[in-house]
Symmetry: C2
Subunit: 298 residues, 2 copies
C-alpha cells in the first residue's frame, strides 16, 4: 500500500504531540506539508519530521499547505475557530479531513460542514480520542453485552484544571484565553458525549431530543490570576464570561437522559466521570467501579 501523504495544520501542543507521538510512529503515513500561523512552530515541527527521514514543506497559509500535490489527508489541530473553514476548504479540494474537537461555534457552521461533506463526498472524521478510552470502551462493550440491562442514564465530564493554560493564553499563544473571555457555554462536550453517543446509538436509531445548559458564575480564573505574582495587567483586568461549571442535560428519543459537565477552571484532579446506569448494573469511572445487580437491598 502506498503511504498516506498528509498535511498537518496547527502545530501547537496538540498538533506537535500527535506528530511526534502518533503520526511519525506510523509507517503508513508521510507528512509532506505542515502549517501554522507562527513560524517557530513550523520550524520545530519540520525539524522533528526531518529527524524521522521526511522533508515537509512549511506554510503559514493553510490554502498553500493544502495545494501541495499528492495529499491524501489533512489533520486539523489549529485554533477552534478555524476548524470549519479549513475542513470545508479541504473537502472541496477532495482532501480527506481528520479534525480535532472543539470544533464549531454555531449550528449554521455545523450544517455547513455536514452539507459540504454530503456534496463533495470527501471523507471527514471528527477526531474524539476519548471514544477509544479504555474505560469507555470497557463500559460500552459491557453495555452491548446487556450486562447493565436497559441503559436509562449516562453522565460524563470534561473535568480538567486548565487555569494555567487559559490564564496565560496570550503569553503561551493559546486560543482558550479569548474563548473564556468572551463565550459562556460547554465549549468542549465531546470527551464525554462522544463515547456516550456511541453507547446510546445516537444517530444510529436513537437521537438527542433536547439540550439544556446551565452556567455557574465565573470566579475560578479571576481568583487564580489574583494569586499569581507574574500576572500581566491584561490578565489582572480580564473579566471572564465563561462560567466555571456548565451543567448540560440531554433527553433522547429512546427515553434516556444524559448529563454533561464542563469543569475546567476550578482546582481538581483530571476526570471524565464516565457513568453508565442500567436496570441490571452500573459503571462509574470516578471510583473505577462496576456494580452488578444482586438480590440484596443496600
Amino acid at each position: 500500500m502506498a503511504k498516506i501523504k498528509a498535511c498537518v495544520v496547527g502545530l501547537g501542543n496538540r498538533g506537535y504531540d500527535i506528530i511526534r507521538g502518533v503520526l511519525l510512529k506510523n509507517d503508513d503515513i508521510e507528512i509532506i506539508s505542515v502549517c501554522d500561523v507562527y513560524e517557530d512552530r513550523i520550524a520545530r515541527a519540520a525539524e522533528k519530521i526531518k529527524e524521522a527521514g521526511s522533508e515537509p514543506r512549511g506554510f503559514m497559509d493553510y490554502k498553500e499547505a493544502l495545494a501541495v500535490k499528492g495529499l491524501n489527508a489533512v489533520f486539523i489541530f489549529s485554533d477552534w475557530s478555524s476548524h470549519t473553514e479549513i475542513a470545508v476548504y479541504a473537502m472541496k479540494q477532495g482532501i480527506p479531513v481528520a479534525s480535532e474537537v472543539g470544533c464549531e461555534y454555531s449550528v449554521e457552521n455545523c450544517l455547513r460542514l455536514v452539507k459540504t461533506q454530503e456534496e463533495t463526498r470527501t471523507p471527514y472524521m471528527f477526531v474524539e480520542n476519548c471514544c477509544w478510552g479504555k474505560e469507555e470502551l470497557l463500559a460500552t462493550s459491557m453495555a452491548r453485552k446487556k450486562l447493565f440491562g436497559t441503559v436509562v442514564h449516562c453522565s460524563g465530564a470534561y473535568a480538567h484544571d486548565l487555569r494555567n493554560e487559559i490564564a496565560y493564553g496570550h503569553i503561551n499563544r493559546h486560543y482558550r484565553f479569548d474563548n473564556y473571555l468572551n463565550r459562556c457555554c460547554d465549549n468542549y462536550p465531546t470527551h464525554e458525549l462522544g463515547p456516550i453517543a456511541k453507547l446510546l446509538d445516537i444517530n444510529r436509531g436513537n437521537r438527542i431530543l433536547t439540550v439544556s445548559s446551565f452556567a455557574s458564575k465565573s470566579a475560578g480564573l479571576e481568583e487564580y490570576i489574583s494569586t499569581r505574582g507574574d500576572a500581566t495587567e491584561e490578565m489582572k483586568s480580564a473579566r471572564f464570561a465563561q462560567g466555571d461549571i456548565i451543567t448540560t442535560v440531554l433527553t433522547c428519543a429512546h427515553g434516556e437522559t444524559v448529563l454533561l459537565r464542563l469543569d475546567t477552571t476550578l482546582p481538581r484532579s483530571y476526570s471524565r466521570d464516565f457513568t453508565v446506569r442500567g436496570t441490571k448494573g452500573m459503571y462509574m469511572q470516578d471510583t473505577n467501579t462496576v456494580f452488578l445487580d444482586g438480590d440484596e437491598e443496600f
Copy 2:
C-alpha cells in the same frame, strides 16, 4: 425542666425506628399519644413505649391523638400525602410540629404550611436528618472557613436502591408504590438540598432562582418485578410513571448552580454524592476526598 409531652403520628418503619432509637433515649421527652391508620402498628409502638415506662394513648384518627391534653409537640412520620394536613391542624391547635421529609405535592400546600405558621406562630420544623450528616457538616464547616474559596457549584443525590420497598408497597403497606405508579418528579430532594441550602445560605441572603427537572424513562421497577417469582398480578401489571433518574438543576441568586439527582429504582450502593466546588478546593463524598488547591496543574 418539665418533660416535653409528645404525640407521634405515623408508626411505620421511620416512626417506629425514631421512637425506639431517638425519642425513648431522650429523658426530656415523654410520648403520651400515638397514631396510625393500622392498629397493629399502634399496638407495637405502645408496647415499646410501655417497656420504657410510659403509657401512651393510641388513636387511628390524628385529630383525636392531638386532642390529648398537655401536648408540647407532634412528630409526623406518616404517609407523605398527609403531612401538610396534620401539620396545619396541629399548628392551629398551638402544638409545635416536627415533620418528616417527603412533605408536600403542590406549591399551594407549601404556601399553606408557611402561612399557617406565620399566622399561628406555632413552631414548625422540617426534619431533614442529612443536614446533620457527618460529611455534610464537615464540608459545610470547611466552606464557612473559606477553605474552598468562593463556592460556585454543589451537587448531591438521593441515591438509594428502593426497588424492594417500592415494588412490594401494597404488601408491606408502603406509600411509595402509589407515588411511583402515578407521579414523575424528584419526590425526595431534601437529603441533598437541605445541607446544600445551608451551605449556600439559601433564604439567608441567597435564594433559588430557577428549577429545571428532567426524567429518564422508567424501566428499573418493571424489570425488577419481572425477575421476582413472588410478584403479585398487581405488581406485574404495574406501569410506573416515575422515571428512574431525575436530574434537577437549580440556579441561585448569587450565581451558584446546584445539581440534584433522584436515583432510587436502579441497582447501586447507597450514596448522597454530596459535592462542593470552589475556587480553592472541593469536597467529594463519593470518593471521601478533600482536594485543596496547590500550584500544580494535573
